[in-house]
Structures are given as C-alpha cells and as structure tokens.
Symmetry: C2
C-alpha cells in the first residue's frame, strides 16, 4: 500500500485530481511526463496557504506598526488616515482606500534598510496572534496545503509562492513556515535604492511602488522572476485568476485549483461578497473550465497545522 | 593528485584565490564553512562571460533588427536614429544616446509577446557572428569562466547571471550556453502587460523601462530576485562595482573578482577609456580592497570556448 502523502485531504475529486496529476507528470515515458526542471508549481499565499480574514495579515502588521510608532508621532492623533487607525475606526480607514494604506506604509515601513525591515517583519510575525483563533498567524496556515507543498517537492516540483502581499514581508518567514526559500517567493514590492552608508552598502525601501503582483500583475511577476511556463497553480480569489489563466495556457498536463472557503465553523465562509479574497469571476471560470474547486468544509479533515513553526 | 577543475587558468594568484575560497567555504566544520543553500555566486555577463567589443552584443542584435525590419518602414530612411543605423553611421547613433537606443528598441522589440521576442532572440543568437573573430557570439564566451561556473556548481554553489543586458535576451540562450536556467538570470527589463487574446493569455513587451540592472541597479535586482546575501561576485567593469560592494558586505568569506581585459591579440585590451565596459573606479577599489584582478593575458591560457553550444 502506498503511503498517503495527503492525509488531511478527504478522499474525493480534489485529492484524486492532485494525485493523478502528480502521477502522470512524473511517469517517465508516459504521455504527460514533464522533466523535473519544468515542474513549476505556484501557490498564492493569502487565503490559499494561510488565513486572510478578518483582514489581510500584512495589513494587521501595518496597523500594528502605526500603533507601535504613534508615541513618536503625536501629530498622527489628528491626521488621517493615522487617526482612524489609532481610534480603531476601520470604516474611516476603508474610506481612505489604497492611497490611505500607502500613506501608512510610507510612514512606517519605508526609509529603512531592507535588513531593518526584514527584522521588523520577522519580529512581528513571531509574536502576533490571530484575533479569533488566538494562535500565531504562522500557525493559521492550512495543513492540507503544507502537505501539498511537501508532496510536490518530494516529486521534484519547484514550488513558488506568488503573492499579492509584499515580497519582503513573506520572505521574512516563508522558509521557516513553508520551507520555501526567499528566491522562490514572488510578490508585490516597493522600489529600493542602493546607498553607500558609513556602515556599508545598504538598500533603502522607498515609498514608490515597483510591482503590484496581483491579478494581471501575477503573470508579469511570474514571467519576470521565473521566466518559465508553470504547470500547476493554486489560488483562492479573483486576484489569482490571471495566474491560473497563464498557467493553463500552452500544451501539456496542467493542474489548476481554487480553495473555496466554505467552513465558517472551523475557519471562514466567504466568496463573492468579501472585502478580502473576493472570489467570483475566478469561481465561474473554474467551473466552466473544469478546474478543481476545493470545498474546504468537505475536502479538508484538518484545517490548521498543529506544528509550531 | 586532484583533478584540475580550472585547466584554462594559469597557476597564479587568481586561480589560487578561487580554489582557496571554494575549499574553505565547503569545508564542513571549518571556520569559513557556508551551508550549500547560502553559496550564492553572481556573474556579470558582458565582458565577464562573453565578449563586449566592439560593442555590446545585444546592441548589435537591436541594430540587426532595425535592418531586418527596414523594408516594412520606408520612413526610417529619413528618420533618426533609424537613418544612422541604416547608413552604418555609428557616430550619428552615438549622438542619439540612450534615448535613441530606446527608440530603436520600442520600434523593433516592443509590442510583441514575450514568446515572440524569445523566438526572435533565440533565432538571432543562433546565427549572428562576431565581426572580428568570425564565430558565433555564443562561441565568444570565455572558457576559463565556463570552467569557473562548472567548478562552483560542482561545489553546490547557486550560480546567477546578473547582467545589465536584457533579462529576456539573455534567458533565451543562457541555459544552452552557460547551463544557467532562466530563473537564475537577473537583468534589465521592460515592463510587460498581461492581455487575454483570442489565442490565449499573453504578456506584451511595452517600451516602458522596468529595471536598469546596472551599477547601483544591480544590488536592487539581486535583492529583488534572489533575496539573499551573495558570497561571490565576478565582474569586469564599473557597472559591476555596486554588485561587488554589495557582495563584500556582511560577515564571512567572500570572493570578489574583476576580469581585466589586457589581451589585444587574443581578445581586446581596454579599461578606463572604453565606451563599452569602462573599468576605472572599480579597478581602483579592487586594488585598494584586495579583490582579485584577473589579468586576461597572463592568467588565462585559453580565451574562447572551443565547444559549440
């Protein structure tokens, strides 16, 4: 009997499709065989590998940073969007939109070296806890997806994270939590600037956006960082649609999968009407094209990893 | 007796320093040991891995493309900078400067899909010959550097190309010529744009510059693509200085090397006064900091690879 590499996945169409794909693409001499260097698999992060409710974890990090630094900025008490953050007024913050969040980012997480940011992000993620589950965010990662990463790696797939989140934020802990090294994380980024300082050369984070690696930006990031046609992609929201379309293109075996959050008891249930991780167009396309849609409630017997990374 | 992995290198300080560095960083338990995933080595391309005289090879590619497409553009005969190219007036082209070259690029190598460009570049490089050596440009690669790449790879180094040239141009042939896969090529790039076309999803090359991976842009590209501290870097011009400074930073063993083109008979001799691959500030800094300076004439017993890639 073969060992079950995906014990947290209930038997069903999703699990069967995954095992079938891996078996076919690794069967030397078979019609769907793909040589190891071409086995490129992509994972979205927020909502695909870890929790993205009640808001993106990285947004929580930025808001925490505003609170942490507020004592040094008395003017924030009366300046938007800082005021809304300090008063826990999420409606006011939502009204400030993306430009508002960029203002928060520029004030808290720019102007520092990449090394300093890496430390700040690493420190935060080591301590911050999810408000509902009262566990570290890095323990709010999905056990079935960790098993899928390991299963693919054991079959010589190159596993990449392709996230709309900040590449430097995710790189700060992806190796420890997912076993994915920095160079295999593709994400949104700010422009950095090289400076020769007294302490030596440094890269400074500027507030200028370099890449928004979300939606149609994902194929751009994939092409730029990997330069190769992926053959498997895993996502959960409309922000992953173009990544799935891009991966589906070309010839040969493909595995396309969407995680549908259907479990309000053990995690969350949301799709077309969620402010974070909206899933609507991508779900329609998955159904019409026969991509795998994981029903979290039905397909996963375990949600969160019990291992402390 | 140990096999000589660098037979094209004459015995001397440069070769000894390379072998010493690799021996020390791979000696488990030794004071300079570096675990395999952290053995990141960077190679510049133009002038470090292949010839960059009488002009950057990629510039020759662009000029050839202007000539190839000229019959479809009768207006070019009277429009600069196209006119200069078609009349082989390199002085006129030089007067047009970088904005001029960008105009040529926009007219010939933008608006197409990344796939189409990849084919055009691959086709060109399979046929184009160096004007002086009358061999393929891909045969104007330096045999000693190919040996160095292989030597590092055999010692579990991750070898990256970090080029001021276009990332898509170099990726089109780097695997075949250097054994370096696309994801290990960091380079300058144009912005691309995702489009859903009738034939399927495509990335279109726009004329907008994304990254100039040269000079202070090299550490930016290295951080963005690799996200890790390199420990060895190989260059040949002032455009590599910041890459070497960035690699030299931090603690632990480092290998920094500049190729000095000193052999006008077998290749070229140039440094501070060359229009391509100017070497002046970086040479001063290498000398004052004790980085290795390869004297091509003295240190290399073979220049070009005799293998047809």
């Amino acid at each position: 009997m073969m060992m079950d590499r995906l014990p947290s996945w209930n038997d069903g169409a999703a699990k069967r499709a995954i095992v079938d794909f891996v078996t076919r693409t690794t069967a030397e001499g078979g019609p769907d065989y793909v040589p190891a260097p071409d086995r490129v698999a992509l994972f979205d992060n927020d909502g695909t590998l870890w929790v993205e409710q009640p808001m993106y974890t990285q947004l929580t990090f930025v808001l925490d940073d505003v609170r942490r630094l507020a004592p040094q900025h008395p003017e924030w008490a009366s300046t938007e969007p800082f005021k809304s953050v300090l008063e826990n007024d999420l409606v006011g913050l939502a009204a400030a939109g993306v430009p508002g969040v960029m203002k928060l980012l520029a004030a808290t997480q720019c102007g520092m070296t990449t090394e300093e940011f890496n430390k700040t992000a690493g420190d935060w993620v080591e301590k911050a806890r999810h408000p509902r589950f009262d566990r570290l965010y890095t323990q709010c990662v999905y056990q079935p997806m960790l098993e899928l990463i390991d299963y693919l790696k054991a079959n010589d797939f190159e596993v990449y994270i392709v996230t709309g989140g900040g590449v430097e934020f995710v790189r700060a802990w992806a190796q420890r939590v997912y076993g994915v090294p920095p160079r295999r994380v593709v994400g949104s980024s700010l422009k950095t600037k090289f400076e020769l300082r007294d302490a030596g050369p440094a890269l400074i984070r500027t507030p200028e956006i370099n890449l928004v690696n979300d939606g149609p930006g994902k194929p751009v990031g994939i092409h730029e960082f990997i330069g190769k046609q992926p053959i498997a992609a895993f996502g959960n929201s409309d922000g992953d649609l173009e990544m799935l379309q891009w991966t589906a293109a070309g010839t040969g075996a493909r595995l396309l999968l969407l995680v549908h959050h259907t479990d309000s008891e053990r995690e969350y249930a949301y799709d077309a009407h969620s402010a974070f991780g909206m899933l609507s167009k991508a779900l329609d396309e998955a159904r019409s094209r026969g991509w795998i849609v994981v029903d979290m409630k039905r397909d996963w017997n375990t949600i969160f990893s019990s291992v402390s990374p």
